[in-house]
Amino acid sequence: MKADILPPLAATVHVKPSGWRFGLRLWLPLFLLWLLLLPLVVLALPFLFIAALVFGIRFWSTIRAVLALLAAFRGTRVEVMDPNSRVFVNLH
């Protein structure tokens, strides 16, 4: 699988709530989340397929578009800072 079609595999999160002397620096392994979700998605696929037929949605195109959307989140970075607190999220 090419790297640019993989969903974010990890997230770096820095949080320093107001009033805390030190913040939290977290590295979240998102790939574990995808691994946990994978069996559920596989189980749901037949139902989604039927729903797509009923509502006239192109099933495989939709699956591809949703995967592309997930993959596109890689590289997203959000940082909000004020004098007392800070939140930083980076999706790798």
């Binding site: 640019d4 509502f55 006239g56 949605i57 192109r58 195109s61 939709t62 578009a65 949703v66 592309a68 959307l69 993959a71 596109a72 989140f73 890689r74 590289g75 997203t76 970075r77 959000v78 940082e79 909000v80 800072m81 004020d82 004098p83």
Partner: protein, 138 residues
């Protein structure tokens, strides 16, 4: 004169390209891209950046720094391509009801690429006493 430039000028002379298109292609060529007809990956706009600096007299300064991959925009547009026709009509009707004359059928990957290409040199700066907003592509 290299082959690519001559080819562009030939196409312009034959009327296959407009002057604007030829200019854009030559500019792309001068930027040192891999090809004149297709923009190279490194030339593509990769991120939309939004920077906000506010200074609240009571709470102090706040900074927001957001980097959104352009791929997200492209993927979103691809997702609109799978919306069923009936739903598209409903979306268009809802937009019209709100006074927005916009046809969602016109949101295509080709149109988006043109838009992103135009965004390349765009930078929006909004300044007022307490807030500074900057939106640009990189």
């Amino acid at each position: 004169m290299n082959d690519n430039r001559r080819q562009i000028l030939d196409m312009l002379a034959q009327g296959k390209l407009t002057a604007d298109e030829a200019e854009r292609l030559i500019t792309a060529l001068e930027r040192g891209g891999a090809g004149a007809t297709a923009m190279s990956e490194t030339d593509k706009v990769k991120y939309l950046r939004v920077l906000v600096d506010t200074v609240d007299p009571l709470e102090g300064p706040t900074k927001v720094n957001v980097r959104v991959p352009m791929r997200l925009l492209r993927a979103g547009v691809r997702l609109t391509g799978v919306i069923p026709t009936r739903a598209r009509e409903e979306v268009n009707a809802a937009l019209r009801k709100e006074g927005i004359e916009f046809d969602i059928n016109n949101v295509t990957p080709q149109n988006l690429e043109e838009l992103i290409e135009q965004l390349r040199d765009l930078s929006v700066d909004v300044d007022n006493e307490h807030t500074k907003v900057r939106v640009f592509c990189e």
